[in-house]
């Protein structure tokens, strides 16, 4: 029942958000064009790299292209779902968040789920199409087990992205700082334009355990390619649970310290 209400409210807010974005079509167009440029350039970057070298630490061109496509897709999907975090700061500073806390919804609904970004939808479609296209282009065989593993680690990736966003929201409640934290997360996310296991040990550790970009972006790609070991599937699942529990607790902790920044 609670989940049904959750989805009903989400749908209403999503519609409102879509209507808002349709009010300024030229602005929306500029955003979509920018996102398309980013996406195309990410693929060009991979091709540019492979123009200079035949492999990157054992990864060949088809694998690298699938990695960059899944990276782009996961990045866009999580932005679509959790975009409202980017606009949470004004609600905190004005004190509007007080009103949200009174509503019969999960307290993290407002900062995380209240504003899906429909400008990401064209990108999601383009990226899905690109994944199918390049899989066919490179004659990559996707088996049913690969697809099942991909589904599992894909869900893990989305849940862990939610956890990271929630941790940022919790931090924002305590410090009212969001934008640059999100930017740090997104900057780290860019590392997944290539498989994160090509990086040095320290950086790899950060991407695997501190801000688990690896779980969100690289592991789903490797699952799709059928090069994911069973250990990595277990690691992805355990880390997702740890992050989910930690983020929910940290969120509760921050709410207990919330003093209403404005009136």
């Amino acid at each position: 029942m609670a989940i049904k209400t959750f989805f009903r409210v989400w749908t209403i807010l999503a519609k409102n958000n879509l209507q808002n974005q349709l009010l300024s079509p030229s602005a929306s167009l500029l955003f979509v064009v920018g996102k398309i440029f980013n996406f195309i350039f990410a693929i060009i970057t991979i091709y540019a790299i492979f123009n200079q070298t035949s492999s990157i630490r054992g990864y060949d061109l088809p694998q690298a292209v699938i990695v960059v496509l899944v990276f782009s897709f996961m990045d866009t999907l999580t932005q679509f779902l959790f975009r409202s975090l980017y606009t949470f700061r004004p609600a905190l500073i004005k004190g509007d968040f007080d009103m949200d806390l009174l509503k019969p919804l999960p307290s993290f609904f407002r900062p995380i789920f209240s504003g899906p970004d429909f400008l990401d939808v064209p990108m999601i479609i383009i990226q899905l199409f690109s994944i199918f296209y390049f899989i066919a282009h490179f004659s990559i065989t996707i088996t049913l087990p690969n697809l099942l593993v991909f589904s599992l680690v894909f869900v893990n990736g989305v849940v862990i992205a939610f956890s990271v966003h929630l941790i940022i929201a919790a931090f924002a409640v305590m410090t009212s700082e969001i934008e640059n934290l999100v930017m740090i997360y997104r900057a780290l996310g860019r590392a997944a334009i290539v498989p994160t296991d090509i990086y040095g040990a320290t950086f790899r550790f950060i991407l695997s355990y501190v801000v688990p970009i690896t779980v969100i972006m690289t592991i789903p790609a490797k699952a799709l390619l059928g090069i994911l070991s069973i250990e990595r599937i277990i690691y992805s699942t355990i880390l997702t649970l740890v992050f989910l529990i930690f983020s929910l607790n940290f969120w509760s902790f921050s709410l207990r310290r919330y003093t209403s920044a404005s009136s």
């Binding site: 500029l30 955003f31 920018g34 200079q52 410090t175 900057a187 040095g200 950086f203």
Partner: protein, 264 residues
Amino acid sequence: MVKYVRIAINTLQEYFVYRINFLFWRVQVFVTFVIFFSLWSSVSAGQSSLGAYSIPQLYSYFVVGYVIRAFVFTTRTADIGGDIQNGNLSSLIIKPIGTIKYYFSRDLVDKLFNLFFMFWEFLLILFLFKPVLVIPSVLNFVFFLLFLLVSTITFFFYSLIISFLTFWSDNAWPSRFLFGVVFVTLFSGQYVPLDFLPPFLARIIDYTPYPYMYYYPVRIWLGQTSPEMALTHLMGGLVACLGCFVVAQFLWLKGKHKYQSYGN
């Protein structure tokens, strides 16, 4: 002059009010550097060169680029778009100060503040990654400094242009996102040296002001251009600078008439 110094001091004080904000901003800039440096280090591992770049040149491309980014791309002119959008510009244009000079003062402090932090981050980069860097010849260094000055001014006017577009739209961020973030980062060569791109694409980008803000200054530092070519590129940079100045002036004059001061 005194009033602009006062504006600069006030801007500096703002940074001390939002200390965490600024700290995280610098962390974000540093992380972005680490990612691209690590990426290209991994790509070049076990190789003596990559394309036209020796490995020290490739490392220098991103390390020197870090300095250029702090000089050229730090700006407060992005605030103008927001000020137009929410009506704050009204209180500025009725004051006995030059609006552009006002933003220039803030811009200068922003650069100095970022450069101060960049200096320590640069030392940290040298300590952490111990990159072997290319040291330029005296002539190239002079060209590099001149280019840096031209690029900084070019980006100032370019960023003004983007902000002034808000006079004709109801939202400052979309044009800033496309022209000020996406185009600048992708086409200036910050992520990928432009000569790694497909030739047709590199040629198209060459006709834009973006390579003059980052790519050509780095190449001059790396000694990858002859003095004659460096001079040609510098001239190209000056033309781009002049073009941005003229367009910015034009949009400012037109925009002021269009300005309706809605908002709060």
